[in-house]
Symmetry: C2
Subunit: 125 residues, 2 copies
DNA sequence: CCGAGATACTTTGCCTGTCAATGCATTGAC
DNA sequence: GTCAATGCATTGACAGGCAAAGTATCTCGG
């Protein structure tokens, strides 16, 4: 169902995706994993953030001070490690969005996407 | 001058960028490298496709049958290896644009970019 | 009570693309 | 003769993604 997107095309965005999710409120690995899957599915796309990838990204983000974590206090079920975005993380997310926007524009130019390739010629000497 | 874009954010797109350039006509490494730089610069961005990265990508593309190459016949100056996009490469480029478009949409959702986060709540149980 | 399946987190080792560094060869300007 | 620009190519290291495997708890059906 839907296009299978290679996560390699999103390489380097894993941490920012997590931050984007945590901006909506504290969450934990399994939940974020499912959220990402369902968002992708709503876009008609078959994408999943692999667990190994995700948990390693949590580690990095915490080292960088972008998130903090705490063990949940549910009486039943497996224990959950909740993550919370910090102000450092917020800043980083803002920045990531700006960078993403510029990257997007650039790649569109470089790929010569239809929407920007209207003009007949644009070869500079 | 402009934002410095980490090429790592474009990881995996190198080959497609090259194909996009070759669609404009046969070219060679040094030229493509300069074209990319000047396109980025026109976007107000400081991005460069590193030579090592580029030449390795040429290699891969040729192995995949997406491009062919031939030595230029200029009487003077250093020899140039020209590359030409094949129909396989054309197909791949078409595909890449579609994939890119989907990836773009998805990442915008996942990062929670301003333009798509209007609705108040969208948390599913 | 037992097994299957969902929930939930973690580690190991491999693969692949990027890139700094380095090297080679030619040409033209100073 | 030397320096910068052109032009191509290889090497080794690094980092992120991921398959695979492991641990542990809970729930539900039989």
């Amino acid at each position: 169902m839907g296009t299978v997107l290679s996560a390699d095309l999103l390489r380097g965005y894993t941490e920012d995706i997590i931050l984007g999710r945590l901006e909506q409120g504290d969450s934990y690995g399994y939940q974020i994993n499912k959220d990402v899957k369902s968002i992708a599915s709503a876009c008609g796309q078959d994408f999943e953030m692999k667990e190994a990838t995700m948990y390693l990204a949590f580690r990095r983000l915490e080292e960088q001070g972008c998130i903090t974590s705490y063990w949940g206090s549910e009486g039943s079920g497996a224990r959950r490690r909740y993550y919370s975005i910090t102000s450092v993380g917020q800043g980083r997310l803002q920045e990531a969005r700006v960078t993403w926007d510029k990257t997007r524009q650039l790649l569109e130019q470089l790929l010569g996407s239809k929407n920007t390739a209207e003009s007949g010629e644009e070869r500079e000497s």
